[in-house]
Symmetry: C2
Subunit: 107 residues, 2 copies
């Protein structure tokens, strides 16, 4: 669902990915890697969506660039990233961005 | 699909939204509003995904905050935003972020 982020500034890691046709082992590793992402100190929240066309967007929020570096340099993360390139993804785009403004609406 | 953005820095507008059960008129207005977004000077690209649970993420990339302000202040945009709050969305989060680093993979 929505990430309950604090007032800006904070950081967003956006990951846009296209699944390949081979998702062997994906579900288990996804759970593992998301557990690492969310346990990382500085983690603020996550939002994710994937459509029927195989294109997915996940945004993970952190309080600092240091927190993001901790996540990127995690050994398990690097291992899963390798598998992702070899097997699960036809392509992806990763972006690290500083959130400067935000707004929200709830019915 | 993926947005072919230039080297950072550039800006991302992330829009995470939860559909309501009433999407009357949504498809036509979405097309209209996306046409405005993509014609805005400074537009760099768009990525979008919506899952079966009704949660969607759209990221629109622009070259500057000025370009984003142009889009936010567009009269048609403001009108559609009102309809979105009244009808199509149970909630949303909008964030404006400065992309500082990126990387990509293509098989």
């Amino acid at each position: 669902m929505f990430a309950d982020t604090p007032a800006p500034p904070y950081y967003a890691v956006t990951f846009t990915s296209k699944h390949s046709e081979n998702l062997d082992g994906y579900a288990g590793e996804l759970e593992h890697i998301l557990a690492i992402a969310t346990r990382q100190p500085g983690y603020l929240g996550i939002e994710t969506a994937r459509g029927d066309d195989g294109l997915g967007i996940t945004i993970v929020y952190y309080d600092s660039l240091e927190a993001i570096d901790g996540w990127r340099n995690n050994a398990d993360h690097m291992e899963v990233k390798k598998k992702g390139r070899e097997t699960w993804y036809d392509g992806y785009r990763l972006r690290i961005a500083r959130v400067e403004k935000d707004s929200s609406f709830n019915r």
